[in-house]
Symmetry: C2
Subunit: 334 residues, 2 copies
DNA sequence: TCGGAAACAGAAAACGTTTGTGGAAAAAAG
DNA sequence: CTTTTTTCCACAAACGTTTTCTGTTTCCGA
């Protein structure tokens, strides 16, 4: 009753394990009659195929690895949900690893996953990962690699990212169209690609609207809540109160909000436009206007793309895929 | 350079694959000298052990499966983070499956995971899973099963849950001690264990404080945001405005809050006590008082426990483990 | 100088599958 | 009837490891 193998079924039916294997997989070698007998016996004996043995012979693990910097963060958990939705519709299992923003740990995960012979890897790189060399290991193996959200533009791998520059432009234009003029910007670190791109989008939209791009209206804050808090403080000091502020990320927006609360400012007076979104947005006393990154779709598409690369016979050239953003206003909050 | 096997290393060094295998694992059969040579060659050739082959012979996959109803939900993503933290400190990889609150899908995941020969399963059951029979499959295999958060009390498996009744009691007592008297309750479904237990705790704390348990002050709402919205509406109708309301879950609290916003009520006038918590709580105009379930710890402990059961030689009796809650006030919000 | 232990390495078998080849009997075609 | 084809199944080998068993040297003490 326990740990039934093909051999055990075979013995009971006076067949060989090979025939049983074939019968279970509906191979044409086997008669309908026999197939039926085999399947019934397998059921009765509680047979469960051993996928690790199968992987060994077939050289296919039907498994992909996913590595993210963190989980308890609405952006990633939503992307992951997209990944899992796509996985569900595929025949692959998913091994998830969390790098906790650490390149050494990221590397460790890659190694284990390669050793497990995953057929593909879906990675959003850690903050600390300096270069694409961290992934050279993959080259020696029959494993496809696809980056999502955070990756390397010039690499040999497909990379799905949001269209930062265009998204920022769209968001800021939305504000100018509403009549806002004194629009400040708490940017991300300019050393990071998305920080730079979002800022470029901001500048472009301001210029396009015929508004001056005031150096003092821009503060290089960072990406976290804490960065937002400090950045907003600096902004108040060097620029004064804006009508609206474009924040590089949702958490940065939260930090700014916190500053206002702590300093008895009325959040109603300053509109916040944030890159990113959160399902909690509607509960804020004054919800942000969000440049939504369609996180779920990113996960879903990234997974689909990876499988495509795995299953393609003769290699797919790597692509840089930019996903469109959309503006979430109060009205169309979920 | 690609797909190097023990045999390949052996050939280059004029050894057998067995010796190479032993050398790499520091077996005492092999001289230090040879070990060094082997390791260097392995490194040079880019050897990566094949864990699926290893699993097959050792009958240990060093892998556990985790099944949760959903991911993009702060409760679960935080528990998962705890699980991953514990996994990191262990030698096991984690395969994650999402049941999307569906028992059929849950079952499908269990089957695949068993077929992959995971050594253990960590499950928070779906809403739809009626009985523990959904897990009978596990019995036939060498796989340990541990429930967390949602599980079955009378089963043959260890179950880690939060101490709902005591937590609710503690929370409500906290309110009565602050002087609140008209405390209403939006409960979860009473058919569900945690719904019933939290309500019992509420009633006990009210009685203990010498306050009347008013039937009209209790509405059986549910667990979601939507349930909270409707439940609060009903409460207003049948009971009127309370001084405080104890919500069965954090989302229920959000629903109630939304109702207030939609009906021009001042959220400041009604304190919300919620079972559960959220990292966004501090950004609400009037943060909830939370009965925190120490989600991270639950994930961490559940994983630890599972590994313990896997590695114990001669079976561990199943346990019902209750985790303590703690009250999060505005002051000690992170 | 002998006996025995320690150090080192190889051979064979096993883990549970799948794939490929071969072959006997039955069925179809001539 | 023979020949050919088809149907059905068995056998052997392979996937990349680890484990157990066996064997050869070397080294040491008596």
């Amino acid at each position: 009753m326990k740990n039934v193998r093909l051999k055990d079924i075979a013995k009971r039916l006076d067949l060989t394990k090979v025939s049983v294997s074939k019968a279970l997989r509906d191979h044409s070698d086997i008669s309908e009659e026999t197939k039926k007998r085999v399947k019934e016996m397998a059921q009765k004996m509680g047979y469960r195929p051993n996928l690790v043995a199968r992987s060994l012979t077939s050289k296919k693990s039907q498994t992909v690895g996913v590595i993210v910097p963190k989980i308890a963060h609405s952006f990633f958990s939503s992307v992951i949900e997209g990944i899992y939705q796509a996985a569900l519709e595929s025949e692959y299992e998913v091994i998830l690893g969390v790098s906790m923003e650490d390149d050494k740990l990221e590397r460790k995960h890659i190694e284990s996953m390669l050793d497990m012979r995953v057929e593909g890897l879906l990675i959003s790189v850690s903050e600390k990962t300096g270069s694409v060399e961290n992934f050279d290991l993959v080259k020696g193996m029959d494993t496809q690699l696809v980056f999502f959200d955070r990756g390397f533009t010039g690499s040999d791998y497909t990379y799905l990212k949001v269209e930062d520059r265009g998204g920022a432009r769209k968001g800021v234009r939305h504000m100018t169209e509403q009549g806002y003029e004194k629009i400040a910007h708490l940017s991300g670190y300019l050393s990071v690609e998305i920080g730079k791109d979002r800022r470029l989008g901001y500048e472009e939209a301001m210029s396009a609207a015929g508004l001056e791009v005031d150096r003092n209206a821009i503060v290089e804050a960072g990406f976290s809540e804490d960065d937002g808090y400090k950045g907003f403080a600096k902004l108040m000091e060097q620029y004064g109160k804006p009508e609206a502020v474009f924040c590089a990320t949702y958490p940065v927006g939260l930090g700014a909000l916190q500053y206002m609360k702590d300093h008895d400012m009325d959040p109603a007076e300053i509109a916040i436009l944030a890159f990113g979104s959160s399902e909690f947005n509607q509960y804020l006393a004054h919800p942000f206007i969000c440049i939504d990154q369609s996180t779920f779709e990113m996960g879903y598409s990234a997974f689909e793309r990876l499988i495509m690369e795995i299953e393609s016979e003769d290699g797919v050239p790597p692509e840089l895929i930019s996903l469109q953003t959309r503006i979430l206003n109060k009205e169309d909050m979920v």
